[in-house]
Subunit: 189 residues, 2 copies
Amino acid sequence: MLAEILKKSFDKYFNAPVKAWEEFANFCKPVTFEKDEIIKQQDTTEKYFYFILTGSAGIFLWKENNFVCLDFAFENNFCCDYMSLLLRQSTPLQLVALEKSEMVKIASETFYKLGQTPVGQIIVQISAETSFIEKQQQQIELLTKTAEERYKILYDKFPGIDQRVAQKYIASYLGITPQSLSRIRSTSK
Amino acid sequence: MLAEILKKSFDKYFNAPVKAWEEFANFCKPVTFEKDEIIKQQDTTEKYFYFILTGSAGIFLWKENNFVCLDFAFENNFCCDYMSLLLRQSTPLQLVALEKSEMVKIASETFYKLGQTPVGQIIVQISAETSFIEKQQQQIELLTKTAEERYKILYDKFPGIDQRVAQKYIASYLGITPQSLSRIRSTSK
DNA sequence: GTGATTTTTTACCCTATGGTAATTTTCTTT
DNA sequence: AAAGAAAATTACCATAGGGTAAAAAATCAC
């Protein structure tokens, strides 16, 4: 069942064999989070790789009482402090549930071992590759689009995100203040 | 010899076994480029993965007579249109030699096959992972630093870059105009 | 449901950066 | 070395978005 959800969720990105997803699903443990619950605290090392069944999460970087959101994740997608997971080091990044969420998690050590198996390796490899591509896409948007255009792109990517995620988080993701986002939303609507 | 350079260049990032680098080096073919020579044209599919022995290169995105530089690469580092290589699709990205350069290249098909061998797979996996981490770092800089701070970070990362790479390229990487960079350079020096 | 807290909106002025254009400097080509 | 082309600088005004503050709206806690 979980394996099917996983496969279905990722077939648009890449075709890992069913067997790979079954192997993956075998290691998954269910876990729930409340809204605003901190899943991974800053300056710790990521211990899990999560898949969101329902709800959402955000990756945050804090600097002196301020934060930016580096990415959002919603149902049927992975999330974690991927940088920490890969470097096996603590990072200043925080993973936060933005809504009441149901997820499954696999332990980081299991994730690493999965990378050594022929089938699981495909998932591990492609999750790194797609993560890179999405980050590069974000970089392109930051370099070539206005805040208003970036807002529209985000909204197209996650329709209804403004109903689910606090605007201050969206604003920080866009690289602007909540006030600016509010202005953009009022003039473009 | 090449295997040693490769291993030495990347030991700071990750420890692939000598054998992996020897395997890698076996597939490398030397190639040279003139300054401003287009290595990969936009709207084509990346056919090679390059390692720079001397010189430098940049990845550019064009939009209506304008461009941004998404990344620079110098000697002892890889470069290519990695997104195109991974997706095996054409992209609007251009790879350009920024100086007269000596590189070695391995064919994309060989690179893919390398990912299926136990030793080469480590290099392929880790190149995706480090690429993601560096892109996320760039995103953080764009979201949290001023143009002037980003310039200093870039300069610290690549000392002397301003002597080797045209300022218009550096400015586009920073997300500002050449005029703004000129102003920043004159006031902060 | 009521009060308290947090978030969003609105408004004001300010600053970093953009756009255009002209000038100077540097690089190319012969 | 000279001429031409391209790049960098400077200057001017324009604008997107920031900072602060206060009001309004939404959410939370009891």
